[in-house]
């Protein structure tokens, strides 16, 4: 709608300008007669009509989508054909409506040729102008679209980060710390340090491929201590991680995600709380990580649960191909999230290259 207004505005103005310039030129030449003015008005409307027809031809044939090498010869040809039409149209109208003036349709091939060439040049220039105008509008639109895309991708990154930061946990922890400041300042200080460690880790994780299991365990411990500050005796947890496994490489935030899920969906909904065990074992094929919590797992029951698990599966597949396994099972009144990852050395060994 707006593009249409701009087109017509420009079109009417440009032709008016051209006619005025010619008029002014004739006036200086002292040859601007009433007769000439009528011809100029006729010229104005013929120009408008024919160039608009030209635009129609361009759009209908889809020339706006083609490159200039393809379009230029066609533009010249159409300009030539339309110039003949323009000349004939103007001449017929002129000769039938302005009787008594020197007729335009005379058998003077030279005059006709000159007139037609004038029109051809004029229409060709017009079409170039039209193309420039369309290209300009399009590049502006493209620019806006790119900006939008950029914003969208940034939003996406922000969402990932937000999911990783777990705002529910974060604000609850901060609220707890606020209360601890009076009750137990030393504990409050420790909690702030732990929260910082978690934040720093969440921000750094995006860039790192794998981390030593020991580091991951430290973050999980910081996280659980903070949750313990909130849940108190409702959250009981133990670690069973042999020291010699602490240097094994695991994907960052993997264990952390499982533990967060266990707390959020397993233990938090229980009025009397529950137990949490984190177990790491070496097996002949690799490393088993198990998070066991009180509760029962029903797939699809808990809201917001799916994303964390889906991401975990996706990440494992990306890092280890088919060599990693991940499952959640109900065992004797508990839920177990089990991850099996190949040890680094063995992953290399099994790799034929």
């Amino acid at each position: 709608m707006r593009a249409r207004t701009i087109y017509w505005g420009t079109q009417l103005l440009a032709w008016a300008l051209l006619v005025s310039v010619i008029g002014l030129y004739l006036y200086q030449d002292r040859s601007l007669s009433p007769d000439q003015i009528k011809v100029l008005v006729l010229f104005y409307f013929t120009g408008l009509g024919i160039s608009h027809w030209f635009r129609h031809v361009i759009i209908r044939n889809g020339w706006l989508e083609r490159d200039l090498g393809f379009v230029l010869p066609r533009l010249s040809l159409v300009a030539l054909l339309l110039s003949i039409v323009a000349f004939l149209l103007m001449a017929v109208v002129h000769d039938s409506f302005f009787p008594g003036y020197a007729p335009l349709l005379v058998a003077d091939p030279l005059a006709i040729l000159l007139n037609t060439i004038n029109w051809t040049v004029l229409l060709f220039i017009w079409s170039l102008g039209y193309f420039a105008y369309v290209y300009f509008i399009r590049s502006r639109r493209e620019e806006i679209r790119n900006l939008r895309l950029e914003t969208a991708s940034r939003d996406n990154q922000l969402n990932t980060l937000r999911a990783q930061m777990n705002p529910h946990f974060m604000f609850n922890a901060l609220n707890g710390i606020r209360a601890l400041v009076d009750e137990d300042p030393e504990k409050a200080k420790r909690a702030i340090t732990q929260l910082s460690a978690i934040l720093r880790n969440a921000m750094a994780t995006v860039k790192r491929g794998v981390v030593p299991l020991g580091e991951e365990i430290d973050i999980v411990k910081a996280y659980l201590e903070l949750e313990h500050m909130r849940f108190e005796e409702r959250l009981r947890y133990t670690f069973d991680v042999p020291v010699e496994l602490e240097r094994e490489q695991v994907p960052p935030m993997l264990l952390q995600t499982l533990v967060e899920n266990a707390v959020r969906h397993g233990i938090a909904p229980l009025v009397n709380g529950g137990d949490l065990h984190i177990i790491a074992r070496r097996t002949p094929e690799g490393l088993d990580l198990v998070v066991r919590n009180t509760g029962r797992y029903t797939p699809g029951e808990v809201r917001g649960n799916g994303i964390g698990l889906k991401n975990t599966r996706k990440r494992l597949a990306m890092i280890y191909g088919g060599l990693a396994r991940f499952e959640i099972v109900n065992v004797e009144g508990c839920v177990e999230s089990r991850v099996h990852v190949p040890l680094r050395t063995e992953a290399v060994l099994t790799d034929p290259s």
Binding site: P167, H168, N172, N175, D182, G273
Partner: protein, 242 residues
Amino acid sequence: MKALIIDDERLARKELASLLEKHDTIEVVGEASNADEAETLVAEKRPDLIFLDINMPGRDGFELLASLDPAPQVIFVTAYDEHALRAFQVNALDYVVKPIDPDRLAAALGKLQVKRDPDTPQREVLHETDQIFLKDGEKCWFVTLKDVRYFESEGNYVRVRFEDQKPLVLRSLNKLEEKLDPLVYFRASRKHIINLRWVDKIESWFNGGLMVKLKSVDKNGQPETVEVSRRQAARFKDLLSL
């Protein structure tokens, strides 16, 4: 004002209590860590105001509130729960987020209605001026009972008609009947309880029943109608002749 703090985290309750110390008008009369405890405490202490955490183990804050009749005044407290926050904003419920900003808390307290009837004895009957809390999907309402025209049972649910709303809530019509003021609310049939203040005209109906026309109109401009069963018709006439 007597206030109750309901939150599953001890530290969160402590934090809120310490913030409330600065407000002389608020007296914290109890704390509860889950919905069941809260329900007992509300019955016992009859608070004017409750601070309610949405995210709690067992029944959540909304479920608790729906079971409290009459509903006390409520300030919701939550850390970060997108669903709850949306519900608050959509329904213009008052809430504060954790960690609680003291100014924001003061503003929420300032908006509270002054205690209505300080000497009301403990009572089980729901009066016309009492509020009940209704939640249907994401929408929730505090409704003053006198605005409710009638309750209509639909299976295990009850449809509550007030203003232009008709939410479907998980309640039993029998339980409601027990609680509602019998001088104002009448069990017209197995399916309906009507608010007598809304009754406009009464006409005879088939089988000795009655058809009650209400002062309200439906979307076609016709008066809303509720049928009174034959069994209840006699009682209904008695009640109205009083």
